[in-house]
């Protein structure tokens, strides 16, 4: 495989970005109600009454597609980072406890029955965000005490925290009322809702900034993903890079999870698939994975919306069901390029 040059990278990123935009537009036009583009272009009002097509497209579909793209990009990028830092192609953003922390936060919010809102967002999102970040901080702290940042220490801390928080979640689920219970499970399975523009703006800005920052760390991540000692002897300050990358990806994952619940598979499968197709260079893996993750989730969400219309499936179900076989296909076709350490 040819080593990466700026030209190749720009070209591939541009193509992927265009593809993403095309997919987003196409998916925005698909749904349980028919939307005609011509009606949309006629404007927000069809004579005296507001245009149904315009309203559905602009106020429901497009915000939802934007959200799916954002969350998909965040989860995929974060997956890339976790796989690099843990030097394990099977890591995903939830491996260090983010999922159970966020889930615990969400359940506490549901059960406590709070009803205030912040910028129109329910307390579930805030609590989930705090839960996610708090758990990461906790796991990082435990990892420091036990293993001085060594991977095994972190993983173990993650497993322990996950187990404990999952038990607490199960307890809270057992005392929840029927409706709270369903709300929690629904949230845990991942779902896309239509957010208002401000939330999309802020969330999207934060996620985009995080992904760009992670891109800056690309070359260091390359060498860190080969080995700690190798990185250090080459002149990379491993601890600083790891801490920064870890913090940024934890942040964008927490944002994604607080916006849309726990959507699995994206953070695991997308980086892996992109790596199979384009190689492990993180300068390329990051931008392409985030764009691919966005595309994947937009398509998955569209399927979730139309397959059992007028009801909808949780997105997490769809990502698992299409992610699994698709990945199997890629693995069979392209695995010759990958060498697993024995």
């Amino acid at each position: 495989m040819q080593p990466l040059t700026p030209k190749i990278l720009l070209f591939r990123t541009a193509v992927a970005a265009l593809l993403l935009i095309a997919i987003m537009l196409a998916c925005a036009l698909v749904g349980s109600q028919d939307v005609s583009l011509r009606a949309v272009f006629r404007g927000p009002r069809d004579g005296a009454t507001p245009s149904l097509d315009y309203e559905i497209l602009m106020r429901v579909r497009i915000p939802r597609v934007l959200l799916a793209a954002m969350v998909g990009a965040a989860l995929a990028s974060s997956g890339v980072i976790f796989q690099a830092l843990l030097r394990n192609p099977l890591a995903d953003p939830y491996i260090l406890g983010i999922s159970s922390g966020a889930g615990l936060g969400a359940i506490i919010a549901v059960i406590s029955g709070l009803s205030w809102t912040l910028w129109g967002r329910s307390p579930i999102a805030i609590f989930a965000f705090v839960g996610a970040l708090g758990t990461v901080w906790l796991v990082w702290g435990i990892g420091r005490i036990t293993g001085r940042h060594q991977v095994a220490g972190l993983l173990l801390a993650g497993v322990v925290v996950n187990a404990f928080f999952s038990a607490m979640i199960m307890f809270l689920v057992s005392i929840a009322r029927g409706q709270q219970l369903y709300a929690t499970i629904f949230w845990l399975m991942g779902n896309m809702t239509e957010e208002d523009l401000f939330v999309l703006w802020v969330g999207g800005g934060g996620i985009l900034a995080g992904i760009v920052a992670l891109f800056f760390l690309g070359p260091q991540l390359n060498i860190i993903s080969v080995g700690h000692q190798d990185a250090r002897s080459i002149g990379v300050s491993v601890e600083r890079v790891e801490l920064t990358a870890f913090a940024i990806s934890a942040f964008i994952t927490a944002v994604a999870v607080s916006l849309s619940g726990l959507i699995g598979f994206v953070g695991l499968i997308v980086p892996h698939a992109v790596r199979l197709l384009f190689g492990p260079d993180h300068r390329q893996l990051l931008p392409l994975s985030s764009l691919a993750g966005a595309m994947f989730l937009v398509v998955a969400d569209t399927i979730a919306r139309i397959v059992v219309a007028p009801a909808q499936l949780p997105v997490g179900v769809v990502t698992a069901m299409i992610g699994g076989p698709f990945f199997l296909f890629l693995l069979v076709r392209y695995s010759r390029r990958v060498y697993w350490p024995t």
């Binding site: 040059t5 390359n222 060498i223 000692q229």
Partner: protein, 287 residues
Amino acid sequence: MTAVLQVNRVSFRYGPQKPVLSGIDFAIERGTFLAVAGPNGAGKSTLIRIMAGILKPQSGNILLEGRDLNSYGIRGIAQRIALVRQEFVPAFGFSVMETVLMARTPYYDQWGFESHQDRDLVLKALELTDTARLASRALGSLSSGERQRVFIARALAQNTPILLLDEPTSFLDLKYQVGIYDLLKSIQADMAATIIAATHDINLASQYCDEALLLYPLAEGPEAPADGSRLPDRPQFRVGRTSEIFAPEEIQRAFGIRVFSGRVGTERFVLPLGTRAKDAHLPGLPT
């Protein structure tokens, strides 16, 4: 003073009951090829890692080009010392070219890409190690010998005056072992590099290295003195020309075995003989 690296009374222990090095003190001159030998647990790898700045000794210090090693910072050290460890297959499938290019990471531009000089250095390193034809192969698809050469190429691409190697040929077959040492020798000659290699192979070291440092294992366990010092009668190491250091009596003492020694040309060879070896009862062997 041409000593490029100076080890001043370095002592190191991994834990209160695990002293490894005690009072190691020697200097290396520019352009020397030094072998660090000794039995398992004597501290060869530890010493290499201390010299690379990865471990910090509890007492004593290292002077690099006259300045304390700690004062350089990670990047400073990386500009002067390159470390090669035993080859392994990394978790992700980078190609040979990509791997060697990684050595230039601290020199990348704003957007994380290498410059022409970087590429030239890398190509030169690949040629020197005869791995240019493997450039687009994944590391996992190479043989161990080829992979070890790639790791050496990566160290060369760092373009440093000093090369540290931690048992670079332990698992390689004869052809590759000799190949690596030939390569190291040519690097020493062509690039005036200072090379320090921890090794198990006394005989190869005799043939290729200028100087040798022989480490003896320290006493371990509850009898060990608390500050890690050796029992006062002998220092833990000997350093000098290979012909002196690898004298058969020293080898026997350090490793605790009987050896048969002979002369090849200018250098000697030593052959360890256990009690059940076929030629164990040759006359003329010291008991």
